[in-house]
Symmetry: D2
Subunit: 398 residues, 4 copies
């Protein structure tokens, strides 16, 4: 019989009373498929550049006998209702001191994935809060990460020396191998959604995390504002002298900050185009140097559904995690209806047919999406199918 | 609490007495980290081209409460001793009728992976036997697969209409989306090692399997012998009219058969070159059309260690599964010695330092390797480190 | 003895008196290395899509005997002084009716190239004027072409249905295989610089030109304003539903209009960056879909030299044609000084060392450049060398 | 008026009497469109790595006035009849001492190209002879070059330390930036066809040539036999430790020697395949590392026409130079018939329709081809058209 391997979570260090209260809250929040963070992450590996002598890992007991292999978990469609989960964020902020848990946040659990801290087998999603005065230690890790800002404004993420001020609708990247930190020097708490390819890296046993020594801070240069904007914000224009990637990671984008107001403006400018019958007006966020997805593993996009618009059914071998940034509508996933409004988050697992509907006949709706399509494309397994208005099945090339 | 999802193994259909005997054998073989197959595979998905209406998958019970996320399994180094595991193959062949179990084979279990049918989180490895007269239904699936022939000769694999006659040391590919079958019309049983990227595809929930309707057999054209050899066997020469890939899979190699005698001959021809201090004389098997690894996910190679040769330590973020094709030596993995001789199979997990040593001072040793480096390279996480003769750490570009 | 092949210029059709006056002007302007256009272009080939039966071309006399091969022409450095050449443009506009000559323009002649209509062996450059009310027939050709706007504003280029209104500093592309037209419905004449890879295509005998039948106008859709801007102007953001190229040409950029005010703004935003010691603050114009140069053959860029800035010497195997958009300075080319001010055009042939100097200590200078580096990179012959402040030679990777 | 630039040929240095005799021979051979070499090449540029201070080149007189631009030369179809041109090779060998002329050879002149030493505007072709005992100085240049062996055997080319023994049908590459030499230590003269992308490099003014100092010979390592064969001759197998390119040139193939007997064998092995209706059984010679054409500019191939085979008409935007290696047939080019037999060389200019016919009803015919398609593909101008058996026009993707 196998014995469990070490978890990627540290042992709890919260004061006992706090821990007990957190556990009570977790019990209460369980039906909402979120987990209030009570424990810090544990890096699986020593950072590569240390050239450490890794020791083999062994189970304490030998496997064998009448094998009953571990089950295969598949993601379910699910929608996390913002109105129901948001209150827990404030509770966490109130009672769980940041220094014991890495973050004040809850993680989304896909009910199909057996309690794993993931929304698909490749994507982790958390929702975090930073109170005025909060400041997280500058750190670096191998998973790619991003922040999608849900609050109106306040707080920041520093990445590789660039200070990105957070405003609603912003997408801020902290790619693999970049030193980054978070904080809030405004007067209001800031809330954002963290998205990482953590589960994929975990499966590949390639997670390492490193915290900056706060006494040295060599990796926290005096913040440069608007580095991304000044260098990469004009389409088809790239500074010849600027970095084509930042940090020690490989194949990253050098553009860290995609501003919500620009995203919104581009969607509006394109609103009278025909767009795609399967996606409405959709824009991809790309590496400005080569047009590729911002991460090797995950692709980010935003889409606008016009008043009353209903997209045609399509499905992919990739999964998509959505967040409603504006509007009110529903997405039919595998025949079931998931109704969304502002800040609701939902997951469309791969292979399931889906259509989006904007239920508002006056206002546009805007969804942000994150997909593992870039990973599937690289390994030759990305496929996409749509149905024509007459119901015929066609292969799509994206 | 989570309830287990459906397994990727079918329910047992073996006659009760046979099943009981198999279970007894499995109990006996457990310490050897093999599992005698008693159940067929279950496809996770309907083949994509059917455009099926996939239904969402749900757990029977809701997850929640005091989350105890599923453990993270990491592969251990391990060596499967051929002399000890081979006898079980003959026992399986004897008692477990092919029609109930898909295959007569055992699968290798990495003791670190909690009983999962895999040697790393990306690679499955089985050892199969086909008796004279055996014939497996022609089928197709999304995982990439290969056969490395261990017996002297006999048997065949058909792939996309090409009949590849099996001889020791041959590598026969059946890429994603190719119709393929196996059989043995010789007078001796044939034994080979099956290697697949099954666990990766399983994690991505992209496994589909399709069996050919034997009454139609549209996908079993009259066998063409030596298609790969005639079209692709000359380096730097590619027929302009020939397929650049075969089957409906994407990004595959069109070359299906790499012959052991050619592999051996090339290694011998290069034996007096300096080679690599970390790998000796090593050759990669590539897609002849573009020089890329034969699969998008896995790379195959062979290496020759000269009499007494000892390689310098190196390590990668990728794992390598080895099979000793000739000779006698050992590999030190993470400080521990794994001694190998003919047909022994062993796994070097990622991040662990390793050196190879040929213990024979007269004869060459030959190892075949399979690595998930191509996957890691695509997502920007491949790294490789070596030590110089003086022990200095250097980054290697491969 | 060889007999000349047909020229790529048509026979003169100008009224005899006009032609005589134009010839007189050409005689006068000859020392300025410009040629006032008196004849239209002749396409070398029937457009490919007509599938014409091309006839072999023969010389009227056979070559042979004491071979004296045609000389090899190499481009010289040269500067066309705007103040001296501009007046001829108005003379041409006055006397040479547009309908006889294709265009009202003069072409720049490199004094090293034996009278060929080119500034290097790969680049043709003309300066054109369009008077109020002018309208050129919509046409299409295989060479790539661009317009760099020198007048303040007025006029337009339509390309593939997009109407690009011309303003100073704009770069408007009309790639290979796009239907395009020019005109001026403003009240002022418009002047721009035309740059084409005509000589390269001519050498490859791949020039075809096709004029639209004005009675049909299928290729002049109702003009869409700001198509490029709306679709591609935001860095790192690409509409998923939009074309990745336009026209029937291959490997083109879909972005046709790079606005001068945006270019200027980006240069200003980057002015306090360190920039490149060899180029100052330089931005490349790229295909927003893949980050590649806008044409397969030619690359476009703009650079800002800060007050008093002097760049370090460098040289390339590619040539660069410059136009001064703002400021006053000089470029030392192969040891000789070429002083420039607004609208001056100059050529730095390949292999010659050059440094740029902004002679103004208060104002920035801006140069636009066009280079055949993309062609040389594709065939493996691009190289770049610089000198360090101490005079050491180093290889540059761009 | 323009004055001629310097030629790429040196001043004659042959002894006056020899020169006179050579000129007489050239007069005689002129109608055959060959030029017996009487002068050495002159490099246009100092080798790049010397970082030389290149001086601007100027014409002695200024261009201007009534511009009469240099004519545009276009290649004609032409066939050089081996039986008629071969005798001149022996005459050259007899009378023109190697030391004065670089080579004992004649160059092919395309009658459409005005006496330039080229068969198309991108390709130069010569036919050379090396007598027993001949040895050419080891040298290096920027143009890519190849040798196609026409004699039965004898002689060699060394390239980057590899000694390639020449046998009929061999293709030996000496890519841009490789040190190479030629010689003959056998007892028979050796004859081969030299093919270079010289005219293209000349047009780009990127030709440099460097001779090895024979007293140092650092670039003539002790010859390694069969380097190409041992490392790259097996399809889909690449040594991991071996160079991916050789020499200082960029983007070259590391495989230098394609043996005629292997080429012939592959063609024979594929003879019963359907092949291409436009090319019969055709194989491309590729870079074994990445499957690309062996040169960035030129592609090489061989094709077998079965007894009586007649290909369907096709045409390309690229030109092809053919040499008949075996058999007897004709090629119809632009409606005219060019009949070929062993060693005849002929050129099919771009855009002209052509069909190949094997006139022998018993024996196969073999043609070797060299095309500038790789250049045209890189810049987006490669196109290919064919006609169906019913005469319909179709676009071909190769």
């Amino acid at each position: 019989m196998a014995t469990k391997q070490t978890s990627t979570l540290a042992k709890p260090t919260l004061p006992p009373k706090v821990l007990a209260e957190m556990e009570r809250l977790n019990e209460e929040a369980a039906p909402l498929q979120i987990w209030l963070r009570t424990r810090a992450n544990v890096p699986q590996k020593t950072p590569w550049h240390f050239g450490a002598i890794e020791k083999p890992s062994y189970l304490s007991e030998v496997v064998g006998g009448n094998v009953d292999p571990p089950p295969t978990y598949k993601p379910s469609p699910y929608l996390w209702k913002w109105k129901k989960i948001e209150p827990y964020l404030y509770r966490v902020a109130e009672i769980a001191p940041l220094e014991f848990t890495d973050r004040q946040q809850f993680l989304l659990l896909n009910p199909g994935l057996g309690g794993a801290l993931r929304v698909t087998n490749t994507i982790r999603c958390a929702v975090s809060i930073y109170k005025p005065g909060d400041k997280a230690v500058t750190h670096m890790h191998t998973p790619n990460a991003s922040r999608t800002i849900l609050s109106k404004s306040g707080g920041y993420t520093t990445v590789d020396g660039e200070k990105c001020l957070a405003n609603r609708g912003d997408l801020i990247l902290t790619p693999n191998g970049t030193w980054h930190g978070h904080g809030n020097d405004s007067e209001n708490p800031i809330i954002w959604m963290d998205i990482l390819d953590w589960p994929l890296l975990e499966m590949l046993d390639c997670i390492s995390i490193e915290n900056e020594d706060p006494n040295i801070s060599i990796n926290s240069p005096p913040p440069s504002i608007d580095f991304s904007k000044r260098h990469y914000s004009a389409g088809g224009i790239t500074p010849r002298f600027a970095p084509i990637k930042r940090g020690v990671g490989q194949k990253n984008s050098p553009m860290m900050h995609y501003e919500g107001k620009t995203i919104c403006q581009k969607l509006e400018e394109l609103v009278s185009e025909e767009g795609s019958p399967y996606e409405g007006i959709q824009i991809n966020f790309t590496n400005p140097i080569n047009g590729k997805p911002v991460f090797t593993t995950l692709g980010y996009n935003a889409q606008l559904l016009r008043p009353g618009e209903k997209t045609l059914p399509c499905r992919q071998t990739a999964s998509v995690l959505y967040c409603c940034i504006a509007g009110h509508g529903y997405t039919e996933i595998g025949g079931e209806r998931y109704e969304w409004e502002e800040n609701d988050i939902f997951i469309v697992p791969n292979h399931l047919w889906r259509t989006h509907v904007n239920l508002n006949n006056v206002e546009n709706a805007i969804l942000y999406g994150v997909t593992d399509a870039p990973l599937l494309q690289k390994i030759g397994h990305f496929r996409s199918q749509g149905k024509t208005p007459k119901g015929h099945l066609i292969e799509l090339d994206w």
